[in-house]
Amino acid sequence: MDKAIIRRVQRRDRIARWTITLGGVAIIVSVIAILVLIVSVTLPLFRPPRDEIVSKTALPAAFSDKEVLALGIDRVELGDRAARDSLTGYVVTQDGRFTFLDFSSRHTPSAVGQVANLSYSTRSVPGALKKTLRFVENHAGTRYSLLWSDGSASLVDAVMKPRFDESGKRSVEHELRTLAAFPPEKGPLPLQALLRAAEGGAVTCVTLLPGNRLSVVRRVSSENLLGEEETIEHRRTIEEGIPGPIRALALDGTGKTLYAGTENGCLAIWQFDAKGQIVHHEVVPAFRDKRAVTALAMVFGDVSLAVGDARGEVTVWSEVRRGDSRKLRLLHRLSQGGKGVREILPSCRKKSLLSLDGDGEIRLDYVTSQRNLLRLTGAGPIRTAGYAPRGNAAIGLGGGDELVVWKIDCPHPEVSWATLFGKVHYEGYAEPEFKWQTTGEEPKFSLVPVIFGTLKATVYAMLFAVPLALFGAVYVSYFTSPGWKNTIKPVVEIMAALPSVVIGFLILLWFAPLLGRWIVAVFTAMVTIPFVFFLFLLAWQGVRKLHWAKRVEHGYEFLVLVPVMVAGAGLACAAAGPLERWLFRSYHGMFTEWLFQVTQKPYEQLNSLAVAFGLGFAVIPIIFSISEDSLSNIPYSLTAASQALGASRWQTLWRIILPSASPGIFAAVMIGFGRAVGETMIVFMAAGNAPLLDISPFNGFRTLSANIAVEIPEAPVGGTLYRVLFLCAVILFVMTFLLNTVAEVVRQRLRKRFGQY
């Protein structure tokens, strides 16, 4: 041959080889890249929380003679481009001053204790002239209840307003806003005061008076008929029903529920109505060993109460419904420290709690997952602590008047393996549960219901699709006449071309209501069709010797069987009405009523059966087509050889064809399974998307894929929900990957055993 031609052929071979190799490698690389991408988004969920001391400085000399009563810190993360955070701390001293300290360094702090720019400014609380502070209580971020030396009480908010000048430089303006002030009362000076301003203007002030009495003043502002603002104060003194000497108090956000913790280990609850009348009072002996309750705080959300005790343990209590009554019950036990808990500071963003114990150790716990996130160490015993409202920083005053500021990096405290895959006791639930519910103050991220939903969808769909598709494939490839085969196969394959959104739409708007109306007929048909079928077969024995019957038996069976099936279905429809009325006569003659009475769950129109039909419809063409191909690929010579040995068609099918085609059939089922697992649009539209954990075919579910589709538009980028949804994607990926791998391994083994067809 001409050398030039040989060279050209070789060159083309090379090009083809390289192109194919490149294509294959590119596919593998891109699949791996996708996996790496989605895994990298989920990884921060599992990164352990970190803390870092950003500042460790002696308290400025100006404070040397004043007693520090409280601390506060605020950290605003300005993002990657600004490269540094705005970090503002403040110190509340006995003379009624809030001193703001700027801890934002202009340079990255190279070593602990070197804050380059520590400037401070002082704001006096308005009206604090000669008075001094007796008691300070910090709750809900920047709000402070102040009790003054003359017995007056006020509620102030330390506001930090960011300002930007013309060059875009950010500065923070500090302001103290007095939200409410209560003048001194007659009588002895109170020991503690607790103030809360609810939305809508009602302010509640609770003071602890000597002699273990509580005074509750509720100030409600409203407009009167003349359009003037009118303020009414409801006063009440509580002397009875207090189980012991009160050590700590807490008020919820509305100011209508008051909690008191006593020296002898009891919790007392009072609930008030709008006019300050007590509507509920309950005393819970919280600790059997009667340890003192030393600190109380409301967990973010104002539903659960955090209780710190004399043994250094922090427990979380919440009202749980038991029958008709609601009882305060212990939900979570958090990490234990030493001596008594001095302060509990809740975050204003998440259900995390900062607690300071008697040994001066600061612990950070997450309530729902009962996870100890951090122990802030590195500064010796701490006397007083402050926690940033965003939960991303803490400040402490240690021995030797040293101010320590920690940065806390823990963006996803609510997620752990236990909360993702285990039962969690959420607020307001009677017992621990698997729950997916991402809205609300306590997002619930259990993946169990959605994984269960995925499997439920797949299993129901496969129960419907696999028998139909496989029997269809066997019939078409092996029994029907070649002419019909060439018609039936493309028609079934056209089913696969139907977009899943169309199937979902039809299921949602047409099929599910229809199924609801004819549900009894569907079950009746499962009896009538085989029955009619059996009758027909008996009758057929009479005619099968006839010439035309012989022809029908060779590839045209379906021409007579389809009308038989239709007759069976028609019989079911006709019988369903009377049957339903008779069977469920004590339930108004309604199946759905019976179902509700028996299972206590209603018949949902968008239920697993409807989805199974839709999803089955989507996977039938795949399973049918692949298994039909593998059945048709069995060489005719095997069939002939088997029949030449005197085997009937059924014997040949069972003993030769099916075993030989089993690798292909198995692959078909597995590919169908993989498609059903990942299918989104049909389940998204037709499954109702309620993340239920219930095997019943009469209610819906939510799958992993639909979960992503439903929630991703509402998930802030980088947030916990966002990352958990990516975790759903990883699980989906792993599921299909495992499924395909197992399928391939099994297929190869079958192939080795049954030959390569």
Binding site: A644, L645, G646, A647, Q651, R655, F754
Partner: protein, 292 residues
């Protein structure tokens, strides 16, 4: 007068193996035979009378009248497409599996018309076994391959199966090669062994007639020799009808030869006479290689 090997009426169960082994070597072309044997065949096992076969409108077999002598080897020869395989498949109704095939005429097996639509085809195929051109071992073990025909007939007892499998494999001259790996997949054997498995499988159901459709055309020369030896050993117990392309093979293994051309039977007679003194010009042209 028929002077070829006259075998006493065979018992329906095969003879013990030893006896088979002692049978004389296969026939070799050129050994003199009485030419008058063609005059009439006594005790034919299969009689085809005026058989026509149509594929749709095409007439593939034209008026074939032919008697097959019992317990002899008959070769069907002819150029490609002459209808010899089609004719062979008529004898166990394998043409039923093909759409649009229609036959007229009569084929009698021991006096019973097997073209009758009401005939039990499964029963017929147990009596008339078949070995195909391409070896078709089932994707099963060697043992299960041989036992297949018995299993589908409902034989379950292991002792019976074991005995018949061994006997059939011995008779197919395969036992010594596979006795240690009976439960390995048959697909792992060589092509020649495959074909002998298929022959053993056909023998296992104890047919009266074995149809062989070019059994050696996919095999190498050594395997071909083994199969031909095997045919020689099986003669006398089974009636063997073999379709072959290879005229030397027909001459080597068969007692009788039928030459088909364009769907019609041209000539039938004892093999040595047909090859040495063909009576029709087409036969002579074909066997001397002028066409084919």
């Amino acid at each position: 007068m028929k002077t070829t090997r006259t075998t006493p009426t065979m018992p329906s169960t095969p003879e013990p193996i030893q006896h088979v082994m002692k049978l004389p070597p296969p026939h070799v072309a050129g050994v003199s035979r009485d030419p008058s044997a063609a005059e009439g065949i006594r005790d034919p096992i299969v009689r085809s009378q005026n058989l026509h076969l149509y594929y749709g409108a095409t007439e593939a077999l034209k008026d074939i009248t032919l008697d097959f002598p019992r317990h002899d080897v008959t070769a069907l020869i002819g150029p490609s497409g002459c209808g010899k395989s089609t004719f062979l498949r008529c004898l166990n109704r394998m043409n039923d599996l093909i759409d649009g095939v229609r036959t007229t005429g009569v084929i009698e097996l021991d006096g019973r018309d097997i073209t009758d639509k009401s005939l039990d085809v499964i029963e017929l195929r147990r009596r008339v076994g078949m070995v195909f051109q391409k070896p078709t071992p089932f994707p099963k073990t060697i043992y299960e391959n041989v036992a297949y025909g018995l299993r589908i007939a409902g034989v379950r007892r292991k002792a019976v199966l074991d005995e018949i499998v061994e006997k059939s494999l011995r008779r197919a001259a395969l036992w010594d090669e596979v006795k240690d790996r009976l439960h390995d997949s048959a697909l792992g054997l060589s092509g020649g062994q495959h074909q002998r498995v298929c022959i053993a499988r056909a023998i296992a159901v104890d047919p009266e007639i074995i149809l062989m459709d070019e059994p050696c055309s996919a095999l190498d020369p050594r395997s071909t020799t083994r199969i031909e030896d095997l045919i020689g050993q099986l003669r006398g117990q089974y009636t063997i009808i073999i379709v072959t392309h290879n005229m030397q093979q027909a001459a080597r293994v068969s007692d009788w030869t039928a030459f088909l051309y364009e769907g019609a039977l041209i000539e039938f007679g004892p093999t040595d006479r047909l090859f040495t003194k063909p009576q029709k010009k087409e036969t002579e042209d074909y066997i001397t290689g002028r066409f084919g």
